[in-house]
Symmetry: C2
Subunit: 558 residues, 2 copies
C-alpha cells in the first residue's frame, strides 16, 4: 500500500486553471468545476498547493494527488446527463442523471455524530479515508482574501446602520490582531467609512499589512496612534493605524484614560491560547522561547490576560461602545478562566449579520472562467445598473476594484439577497449569451443565510433556540440539487471545527444558454429563499416580512 500522507505531497508544476473560451471538457457545466478546482489549487489562491491545502488550516480541494488527477480526467469526459460523486475529495462514482441535475455532488468530512471528533477524523484522514473540506476549499469556490475583507466590511457596515444611522464617518473601531484573517480589518473598516486602530504585538504582521496596502499607517506608541485617529475622525477621513503593542495592555489602558471607541472587537488568535495570544507583560522573545519550553505556562498566562482583555471590552460596552466577538472564542476562554460575565457582549452573527441573513443576504460571489478581468469589471457595472440605489454596495465595488488584487481567476464578492441574486444571475447569463463576457460561475460561501447550522457562530442564539438543528442545511443542499445547481456540496466541520457545524455549498454556471437561464432563475431564488424560510420559521420579523414581500410559499406561515 502507498503511504496516504505521501500521496498528498508533490513538487509537480504549479496548477493553473485554463483561461479563454476554448473548453478542455465537453461542456461549460463540466469545464466550470474543472477550472474552479484547479483555481482553488492555484499558487496565487491556495495556502499550500503542494499539499492540496487551500485555506483554513487543512482545508483541501481534493484528498490526494491521485484523486485530484482522476477528478480532472473524469470531468473532462463527463456528459451532460451524468453526475460525478466526490466523497471527501475522492471521485467515487459516475451515474446517469439528466441535464437539469448537478454535474457534481460532493460530501466532505461528514461523520456520524458520536464519532465526529478531531481525534477520529484525524485517524481516518491519516489513513487516507477522508479529508477536511473546510467550507469553500472542498467545494471549489474559494477565491482568496476578498471574502474575509467583504465579510468584515459587511459586519462593520451593519454595525454602522444599526447604531450610527448608516454613517461611520468620524467614527473609529478598536481591535486587536493583524494576522492572516485579522489583517483584513483595517481595510474593511476603512471601506465601511470608519477609522481603525488595530493593536498588534508583532512588527512583522504590521509590516506585511502595510506592504499590501491593507493598512495605512504604523504607530509605535499609544499617544501617536490616538493622535492620528482623532485627527482623522475630526476631518471625517477614514484611516487605519497599526499600533505595535499588546491588546491585553492597551485595551485596559484606554479604559483607564476614559477613551471610548465607537466599535470594539478583537481578532487575536485567542482560540489557541498556547500559540496565538501574547500574554500581558511578556516580550516577544520570552513568548517565542516559552512556547517551546513551557506551552502550558504560556496558555495559563494568556488566559489570565484574556480576562483583563475581555473585562476591558465589557467596560467599553458599559461606557457606550458597541462591542462584538468576531469568532475567535475569546469570551469562552475568559469565561473558563472565571470571568462570569464574559458573554456579556454578543457574537457578530446575532449582532450584525443575522438581520442580513433574514433577507437572504450573504456572501454571493462569481468568477470569470475566461480569466479576463474585464469580464468582472463588466459584471461590476451590471450590478451597479441593476441595483442603482445601494450606495453601500457601490462603495464596496469601487473599493474592491481599487484596492483588492484578483487571486487566480478574476472574481467578485458582494453581499446581496433574495430577489437580487436571481436577477444578477440572469443578467450575467444574458451578457454571456450576447458575447459581452465569457462564461461565469456563481456561488457563495457556506457561511450563508440558509446553508449552515453552527451553534457557536452562524446560528448562535437563534430566537427560538434552534441553533443546533441541522435539518436546514440538509434541505438547502437537497433543494439546490433539485433546482439544478451545477455542483452541490455537504460539509461537516469548517471554520469552527469537527463536531461544531454542518453546511452546504452550491455553484451554478452561466454559459449563456436558455437552459442555464431556467436553472439560474430557480437556484438563485430558492437558495437564498431557504435562508429567509429558516429565519422566518425561527420567528424573526424581518424574515417573515421578507417572505411576505417576496410571496414565499411557507405553508405554516400562511
Amino acid at each position: 500500500m502507498t503511504d496516504p500522507a505521501a500521496a498528498r505531497f508533490r513538487n509537480a508544476p504549479a496548477i493553473r486553471a485554463p483561461r479563454g473560451l476554448e473548453r478542455t471538457a465537453l461542456h461549460w457545466t463540466t469545464e466550470a468545476p474543472l477550472r474552479m478546482l484547479m483555481n482553488n489549487l492555484d499558487a496565487e489562491v491556495a495556502e499550500r498547493p503542494g499539499e492540496l491545502v487551500v485555506y483554513g488550516g487543512i482545508g483541501r480541494a481534493a484528498r490526494d494527488w491521485a484523486s485530484y488527477e482522476r477528478i480532472v480526467e473524469t470531468l473532462r469526459r463527463l456528459r451532460e446527463d451524468q453526475t460525478l460523486l466526490v466523497q471527501s475529495g475522492k471521485p467515487v462514482g459516475v451515474f446517469e442523471t439528466h441535464a437539469d441535475a448537478p454535474r457534481v455532488l460532493i460530501a466532505n468530512s461528514n461523520l456520524v455524530p458520536r464519532w465526529a471528533t478531531w481525534e477520529h477524523f484525524s485517524e481516518l484522514d491519516r489513513r487516507g479515508l477522508m479529508m477536511y473540506g473546510q467550507m469553500t476549499a472542498g467545494s471549489w469556490i474559494y477565491i482568496g482574501s476578498q471574502g474575509i475583507v467583504q465579510g468584515t466590511y459587511e459586519t462593520f457596515a451593519e454595525a454602522g446602520r444599526q447604531h450610527f444611522g448608516g454613517d461611520l464617518g468620524g467614527r473609529w473601531i478598536l481591535t486587536g490582531g493583524l494576522g492572516g484573517m485579522g489583517g483584513a480589518q483595517p481595510l474593511a473598516g476603512v471601506f465601511a467609512g470608519a477609522s481603525v486602530l488595530a493593536v498588534e504585538c508583532q512588527p512583522s504582521s504590521i509590516e506585511k499589512r502595510l506592504e499590501t496596502k491593507y493598512l495605512d499607517h504604523r504607530a509605535d506608541d499609544l499617544d501617536t496612534a490616538l493622535g492620528m485617529i482623532r485627527a482623522a475622525c475630526a476631518e471625517r477621513r477614514a484611516i487605519s493605524v497599526g499600533l505595535l503593542g499588546n491588546a491585553a495592555e492597551v485595551f485596559p489602558e484606554l479604559v483607564r484614560r476614559g477613551v471610548v471607541p465607537d466599535i470594539v472587537t478583537d481578532q487575536t488568535s485567542a482560540h489557541d491560547p498556547a500559540n496565538g495570544y501574547l500574554p500581558a507583560g511578556w516580550t516577544l522573545a520570552e513568548w517565542t522561547a516559552k512556547r517551546e519550553t513551557d506551552p502550558a505556562a504560556v496558555a495559563a498566562a494568556a488566559r489570565r490576560s484574556m480576562v483583563a482583555h475581555v473585562q476591558a471590552m465589557l467596560d467599553f460596552q458599559a461606557l457606550g461602545a458597541k462591542v462584538l466577538d468576531y469568532g475567535n472564542n475569546i469570551r469562552q476562554m475568559a469565561k473558563e478562566e472565571g470571568l462570569a460575565d464574559a458573554f456579556g457582549f454578543p457574537g457578530f452573527v446575532p449582532a450584525y449579520i443575522r438581520p442580513l441573513f433574514c433577507r437572504g443576504i450573504g456572501p454571493f460571489r462569481w468568477a470569470a472562467l475566461s480569466g479576463d478581468p474585464e469580464d468582472i469589471y463588466r459584471t461590476d457595472a451590471k450590478v451597479r445598473e441593476l441595483i442603482p440605489e445601494d450606495a453601500h454596495l457601490h462603495r464596496w465595488l469601487d473599493m474592491a476594484r481599487a484596492r483588492i488584487s484578483f487571486q487566480g481567476l478574476p472574481a467578485r464578492i458582494c453581499w446581496v439577497g433574495l430577489g437580487q441574486r436571481d436577477r444578477l444571475g440572469l443578467a450575467f447569463n444574458e451578457m454571456v449569451a450576447r458575447g459581452e463576457i465569457g462564461p461565469i460561475v456563481i456561488g457563495r460561501d457556506h457561511l450563508d443565510s440558509g446553508s449552515v447550522a453552527s451553534p457557536n457562530r452562524e446560528t448562535e442564539a437563534m430566537r427560538d433556540g434552534s441553533d443546533a438543528v441541522s435539518d436546514w442545511p440538509l434541505l438547502n443542499a437537497l433543494l439546490n440539487t433539485a433546482s439544478g445547481a451545477t455542483w452541490v456540496s455537504l460539509h461537516h466541520g469548517g471554520g469552527v471545527g469537527m463536531g461544531f457545524s454542518q453546511h452546504a455549498g452550491m455553484v451554478i454556471v452561466c454559459d449563456g444558454t436558455a437552459d442555464a437561464a431556467r436553472r439560474l432563475k430557480r437556484v438563485l431564488w430558492n437558495d437564498p429563499a431557504t435562508g429567509v424560510m429558516r429565519h422566518a420559521d425561527a420567528g424573526y420579523d424581518i424574515a417573515i416580512d421578507c417572505a411576505r414581500e417576496h410571496g414565499l410559499d411557507l405553508p405554516m406561515l400562511r
Copy 2:
C-alpha cells in the same frame, strides 16, 4: 402559545389513506406521498396513531396535528413543478423546481454533532421544534411487521447459505425474546427452513405470537421444548417453540448439558437494562415491582445476568454454533460489566447482511396505492416471472402471502439488489400503463446498502475502518434527488438512537407514464449502485466484482 405536547394528541376519527384510482391530489406523484403519509398513521399500521407515532419508540410521521393537516393540504395543491420541504415533520416551504425533481424533500431529527444527544433532542422535541423520524416513520414508507420478518428471514437464510450449504432443514436456532420485533423471529426462522427455540419470560408475549400464528407452539419446561425441537429436526420439519423461561438461565443450562444449537442469537431488550431485561433468578412479580421502586438495582442485576447470557453465547460459539448479535447491544452491556471478550461474536450485519449489501441487496418494498390486494399478488407473480431462478425469493413470496396479513395499504417486501430493482420497477410501471394494476410506490428501508452510516449496526467493522464516515448516505440522498425519486429524506438517529447513525430514504412512483419509466430506470439503478460503490470503496471483493459485472463507473477503481 399552544402547548407543543398537546398538539400531538387528538381523538379525531382514524386516518385511512384514500383507496381506488381517483386522485385527491393533482398528480399521482403528489397523491402517492399523501396516501403513504396517511397510511403510516393508519391504526392498522401505526403503534400510537393518536400521537402520530408509527413505530420504534417515538418514530413519528409528522411533528404535530397542525403540521400533518398542512402537509395534506399542501400535497393536494402541489404542482408537478413544485417541491415541498419538510423539516422534522413540519411543512416549511414550497419551491419551484421541475418535473424530474422530487415532489417532497425531508430532513428529520438532524442535529449538529456536538449537540446530537437525547438530552438536547428531547428539549427541542418538547418545545415543538423537532420530531424523531426513526427510519421509515418520518419518510412515509413504513408498512407494518412484514419488514422485520423479512429482515430476520434474510439474516437466517444468509447464515444458512454461509454455514449450511444453503439448507437449514434439520437445523435449529436458539434465541431469546418474543417482543414487538423479536416476535418475528420464529416465523422468519421457519420461513428460512429452520426450527426455532425462543426463550421468553412473559407468558403474554408468547400468547400474542401464538395468536397471530407467528409462533407454532408453547412449552413450559426445557425438556419438553427440546423434545419438540429434536423431533422436528429429525424429520426436517421446521417448527417454532416458545419456551417460558429466562434466557439468562436457559442459555447457560444448555451449555452445561452440552446441547449445541446450530445458530444462536438474542432479542431481549438488553439495550435497556432498567426496563427490558429480566435478571436471572427473579420472578416477574419482583421484576415489575422493583422497576418502579428501584430501577438502578434492576439494571445492575440485569447487567450481571447479561454477562452470564453472553458468556453462554461465547461458549456455544466455542462448541461450534454460529452466534450473532441481532442489534440489541447485549455485547456492549456485558463488556461494560467486565466481560472482556464480549465482542467475541459478530453483529448480524458484518456476519450476514454485508455480503448482500455488497451487491446492493436490501429491503426493497412497494405498496399498492389503489388499496387492492390483487395488485400486490399480480406484482408477486411478476417478480417470480422476472427472477425465475431464485428459490429463496420464491419461498419468501409464498410464505409472506400465506402467513402475513397486510396492514394498511397492501404492500410487499423482498430483498433484491442492483440490476433487479430497476427491472422490477419498470415492469410494474408497464403493468400500471396497461391497466393491469393501479399505481404503485416503490421504496426501501433506510437500513439498506448505500443509504446508512451506523457504526454499531449497518456499518459495524467495515473492512477499511470507515464505519463512521457519513459522506455516503448524504451522497445517496443527493443522487436520488438528482435522479428524480418522488420523495427523498435524510434522517439522524433511527433504530440505534441519537448520535449513532445518519441515513437516507427514497420512494418513487410508478404511475404508468413514460416520464416515470425514465426516472425509475435511473433511481432504481443508482440507489443500489451507491451501496455497491460504498462497499467496493471499502475493499470488499464481492462489491468490486459486482461493480465490474454491472459496468459501474467508479473512477478510482478503473
